[in-house]
Amino acid sequence: MMKLSLGPILWFWSKQTVFDFYAKAAEWPVDTIYLGEAVCSRRRELKPDDWFDLARDLSACGKEVVISTQTLIESEADLRRLGRICDQNEFLVEANDQSAVQVASRHHIPFITGPSMNIYNVATLRVLAKQGLKGWNLPVELGRETLEQLITGLKQEDLDLPAEVFAWGFLPLAWSSRCFTARHYNLPKDNCEFRCLQHPDGMELRSRESQELFRLNGISTLSGSRYDLMRELPAMERMGVNTVRLSPEHQGMEEVVKRFDQVRRGEVPATDPLQLVEAPPCNGYWYGKPGMDLIG
């Protein structure tokens, strides 16, 4: 049976909210939990030790835990945090940048690559396998056909590298050194007053015709529609996808997990629509179309 994973929390939540979220998640039918700050270096409600404590707790509850690293590494301080994450031998690391691949491989820490690592072909997977890659995420802009070719290519080369697919949530689409939340409040990034805390699911960016285009989330830009591949689970299973990733939201997540769990067990019709949280759905990338499209 395919595994379900909870990706790293991409939003900025208070320490208590994070702890409460994972206290509940410990009981959910997810197999893998990614912990840590993958977006902004200024988001430090939880210190590395807090994350490791949480990791041990969740591990004790039977979850496979992976510690995520920051996607955009810009400073010496960012590298120090990265070094701290890789300087341990308890948990796998999610590398979201080549810096993390380099540091993890130097520490001999096995790693998984997140969806922001540019893996578009088997030759790239071969390079990363030599560095200690233990699993990989499909970049969000790629779809079914490419995934199928990648998995087939891996089999042909006898490379055992489990594939994970971002299957539910707002798609992380871009990273910048600019902070769009701070910009909205007319604040300098370095003195942002942590306004992201007021937006636990980002800020909606709409066209002047009120079309939901993106979600601004600090230095990251996410999709305005929610990616939802629930109906594709059977196809993914046939293809040999190992893990399906659900991206945390602060409301309705338990229901989402429950529904995906049912579908992976074949308990409900795969066509059952998932209407839990307000936001238009999309699945275009899966079909090789514009990501914002909804096919079928």
């Binding site: 955009l72 590494i73 810009e74 010496e76 960012d78 590298l79 990265l82 940048d97 080549q98 810096s99 691949v101 380099q102 540091v103 922001s116 540019n118 578009y120 072909n121 088997v122 030759a123 790239t124 997977l125 071969r126 390079v127 560095q131 970049p139 802009e141 056909e145 490419t146 070719q149 990648l150 290519g153 798609l171 689409l173 871009a174 990273w175 910048s176 050194s177 600019r178 902070c179 769009f180 910009r183 909205h184 007319n186 604040l187 300098p188 990034k189 800020m203 960016l205 066209s207 002047r208 009120s210 079309q211 285009l213 601004l216 830009t221 990338y285 090789g288 514009p290 990501g291 914002m292």
Partner: protein, 331 residues
């Protein structure tokens, strides 16, 4: 510091060389490079002619093969590397790890540069590319502040090239999928951002509208100058305010930073704009050549001359230039 100029066509290449480019960068006429534009870029015959022209005048030619091949494109991208090697380019600019691996093992003697699309923002990332593919040079993304460039430069295992002038990508290059989210093409997959095939202009009672795959990117009032609908530079609504919520349409211009970049040991400055006309290339290359020559001639005394500033401002988006992320005042 070297001056690296864009060449989207043979006339542009010749113009860049004639106006003082130490090196020009070109791409093939397909989606193997991150600037795929109708009617631009090079076939093998033109590339060979351009390389001859540049070499005979002491300039070098780099070939950008900096998009990310998917399995069904692998042979085509590999063939692009073979073509570049066969043509005798002075360096291949690559982003994809698989392709870097191929180039390094097949053509170890042809220098490899890491494209800005490779998105290396730290010396650890640069070390990854150096250790695995023995790259000689890397182009830094336009998202780093000068302090951050200093930090990277201090421990960089390879030569560094930074963007000096031209359109401003404000997202970390190589990791921006905004374009494929709205259309089906992105720089990584097709070498296109906000592709022209998806653009539509329409005069309406509210003003001139620009759309990208039917999404309203901007609407211009009377007398307002309209820019290309690059989606990150449109006007949108966030919490009731309409503004350039991601970035204003401005150009990057780092003339003022030249002495600092030199002090950091930066090897080359890069001009953006393979889609630009030869006339544009001539003005920009000439101006930057003068600036760099001045920098060499007058150590510690470099000042930006007004005519350089005026020339470059006139060539910038909306007439505005910015130091981009190189300074930290931006919001």
């Amino acid at each position: 510091m070297e001056l690296v100029c864009p060449a989207g066509s043979l006339p542009a290449l010749k113009t860049a060389v004639d106006n003082g480019a130490d090196a020009v960068y070109i791409g093939f006429r397909d989606s193997t490079n991150a600037r795929q534009f109708a009617g631009l870029n090079f076939n093998d015959k033109r590339a060979a002619e351009g390389i001859d022209y540049a070499h005979s005048r002491g300039s070098r030619v780099f070939c950008a093969i900096n998009t990310y091949p998917q399995p069904d494109g692998w042979e085509q991208w590999k063939a692009a590397v073979d073509r570049a090697a066969g043509l005798g380019v002075d360096a291949i600019i690559l982003a994809d790890m698989g392709l870097l691996d191929y180039a390094a093992s097949r053509y170890p003697d042809i220098p490899r540069h890491l494209s800005v699309q490779g998105s290396a923002t730290s010396y650890e990332a640069l070390s990854f590319y150096k250790d695995n593919f023995d790259i000689r040079r890397a182009v830094l993304p336009r998202v780093l502040s000068l302090d951050q460039v200093r930090g990277v430069a201090k421990y960089s295992p390879v030569e560094l090239e930074v963007f000096a002038f031209g359109s401003l990508c404000i997202m970390a290059e190589g990791r921006c999928y905004l374009s494929s989210y709205l259309t089906d093409e992105s720089p990584n997959t097709r070498g296109a951002c906000s592709p022209a095939k998806a653009v539509r202009w329409q005069e309406t009672p509210q003003g001139l509208e620009s759309r990208l795959n039917d999404v309203l990117i901007d609407r211009y009032g009377q007398g307002e100058s309209a820019g290309y609908p690059t989606l990150c530079k449109g006007r949108f609504e966030v919490e009731g305010s309409v503004y350039h919520a991601i970035e204003e349409p401005v150009s990057l211009n780092t003339l003022d930073l030249l002495p600092e970049l030199q002090e950091l040991g930066i090897s080359a400055v890069k001009i953006e704009g393979r889609q630009r006309s030869p006339a544009y290339i001539a003005d920009v290359a000439r101006t930057w050549r003068q600036a760099l020559d001045n920098l060499e001639r007058t150590p510690g005394m470099f000042t930006v001359e007004n005519n350089w500033r005026n020339t470059l401002s006139g060539l910038s988006e909306g007439g505005l230039t910015t130091l981009g992320a190189y300074h930290r005042k931006w919001k």
